[in-house]
C-alpha cells in the first residue's frame, strides 16, 4: 500500500471527472473525516485515514482490500473504474440516465442501454459524456458513456445504443473474484 504518484493521481482524477466533474473536490476535501487514495496491488482504494493507518500494520501479502476499491491500473498505466466506485459516482453524478424496468435486467447482464429502455435522461447531456445509470426508482445500477447527445436521441430508432456500458452492478456476481 502506498500513496499515488502525481501521474497516477492525475489519471484517477481525470477518469473520475468524466462522471462527477468538479465534485471530486468533495471526495478530496471532506467535512466528516480525512479520506485518502491509496494504491495496493495496482488497485486504487478510497479509504478513510483512520482505517488506512490501521491497514499499515498489515503485511503487504496479507492485506486483501481496504476502504472502497475505486478501480485498477492496467499494466499499460491506464486507470479503469470499477463498479465498486458506484456509490460515490452516484452521489455526485452530474449527468444521469434512468432506464425503464424492462431495461434493468438487460443492463445488469452487461448490455448497453438502447433507446427503447431509456426512461429519462439529464437535459443537455453531451456526446461521449460519462453518465450514471439508475433504475426508475433511483437505484444506481452502473455507469457508462453516452453515444449521442440528448438532442440527437429523438431521431434515433428504438434499437439504437444510447449509453455504452462501462460497469454495472451485475459485475458483483460475474467478476466477484477479481473485483475488489
Amino acid at each position: 500500500m502506498r500513496p499515488l504518484t502525481e501521474e497516477e493521481q492525475a489519471a484517477v482524477f481525470s477518469k473520475l471527472a468524466n462522471y462527477i466533474g468538479k465534485n471530486i473536490v468533495h471526495l478530496v476535501d471532506r467535512n466528516d473525516e480525512a479520506y485518502c487514495f491509496r494504491l495496493h496491488r495496482d488497485r486504487v482504494y478510497y479509504v478513510s485515514e483512520s482505517s488506512m493507518r490501521l491497514a499499515i500494520s498489515v503485511a503487504r501479502p496479507n492485506l486483501v482490500s481496504l476502504g472502497t476499491c475505486f478501480g485498477k491500473f492496467s499494466k499499460s498505466g491506464k486507470f479503469k473504474l470499477h463498479i465498486t466506485a458506484l456509490d460515490y459516482l452516484a452521489q455526485y453524478a452530474k449527468y444521469k440516465v434512468w432506464v425503464k424496468p424492462n431495461g434493468e435486467m438487460p443492463f445488469l447482464y452487461g448490455n448497453h442501454v438502447v433507446k427503447a429502455h431509456l426512461g429519462r435522461i439529464t437535459e443537455d447531456t453531451p456526446e461521449h459524456q460519462g453518465v450514471v445509470v439508475y433504475s426508475m426508482r433511483d437505484i444506481p445500477l452502473g455507469f457508462g458513456v453516452t453515444a449521442r447527445s440528448t438532442v440527437d436521441t429523438r431521431k434515433l430508432d428504438p434499437t439504437a445504443i444510447l449509453v455504452y456500458r462501462q460497469a454495472d452492478a451485475g459485475e458483483y456476481l460475474r467478476d466477484e473474484d477479481t473485483l475488489f
Binding site: 500500500m1 500513496p3 502525481e6 492525475a10 482524477f13 471527472a17 478530496v28 476535501d29 480525512a34 485515514e49
Partner: protein
Amino acid sequence: MDVSAIIEAEAAKHSAIAVEKDSAVEIDAGLLTITDPNPIDSQSYSADKETYLTELAREVFPDGPLALLPKPTTQLPRAKPLPKPKPPTKWEQFSAAKGISKKIKDRKLWDEERQEWVNRWGVDGKNKEKEEQWIHELPDNADDDFNPAAAARAERKKRVAKNEKQKLANMARAQTSEQRERKAEIERTLLTTKSSTASMGKFDKKLEGEPKVRGVKRKFAPNEIPSEQEKKTSLAILSKLDSGTAKVGKKPKGDHASGAEGDGAVLNVRKALRHASGGRGGAALGRELGRNNSSRGRAGARGGRRGSSSRGKGRGKSSS
C-alpha cells in the same frame, strides 16, 4: 706609433670569415637564420657527402665577430590558465575553523631501544612495531584464539582503509560540477554500451571486481502523510487538471480549422495567404502589393493575382 700591423691583423681576421658566393646568402634576422641558395657541387657532394658539407659549413672562429644577444625581454603569455587553488579537504576546513596549525612530521623517528633513526612508516616502519614484536601482552578478556599480532595488523590496515576512503571523499568533494557531469555521462555511456548486446549484456564476460549494475529504485511518498498536506497536493493536481483542460480542451474535429484561427473566423488566414502569395508567404505578398500601389501601369496585370487571392479565401472557407 705604427698601428698598421694591428689593422692588418684585424683585416686578416675579417678576410678569413669573408665568404665569396655567387649569390648572397639570405638572412632572416627574425629567425636568426641564414639560408644559402647557391647550388651545391653535385659531383663532390655525391663523392663524399660528409666532407663536402663540413667544408661548406663555416667554422666559428673563437674570436670572430660573434654577437652576444641580450636576454629576451618580451614575456610570452601563459598558454594555460593559472591553476586554481585546491579546495580544502575536510580536515583542512576543520583545522582552519579550530585554529589548528599544521605540524609537519618527520619521515624518521628516533628509536630509543635500537638507538637509531627508523622510518615512521614503510619498510621496517615504526607503525608495524606492535605486530612484529616477539612477545605480546594479552588482555584479560581475550579469546583463546586471539592473535595479538593479527589484531594489530588489522587495526593498522583499517586505518589505511579509512584514510583511503577519506581521500576519495575529499577528491569527490573537490570535483567541479563540470567534472561531475562528465563523469556521470561517461558512466551512462558505459552502462548503455554494456547492455547493448543481443542478450542485453547478460552473457558478456565480466571484469574482476566489476560492480553489479543497479538501476534507480522507484521512490514513493511515505504512507503516513499529514492529511492536510495530502489534501493540498490532491487539490493542486485537481486545479492543474482543470487549467489543463481549459487550455487544451478537446474540440470536435469538424471545426478544427476555424478553431485554429480563434474568434470563430470562417476564413483560414494562413491557408489563404499561402495560396495568394503562391507559397512565398505573407511578407512577399505585402511587398508586391506595395509595389502595385506605387506603379499604376502594372496594377491591371496584378488584378488577376488579387482575384486568385479571393479564390484562395473561398477555398479556405469551404475546407473549414
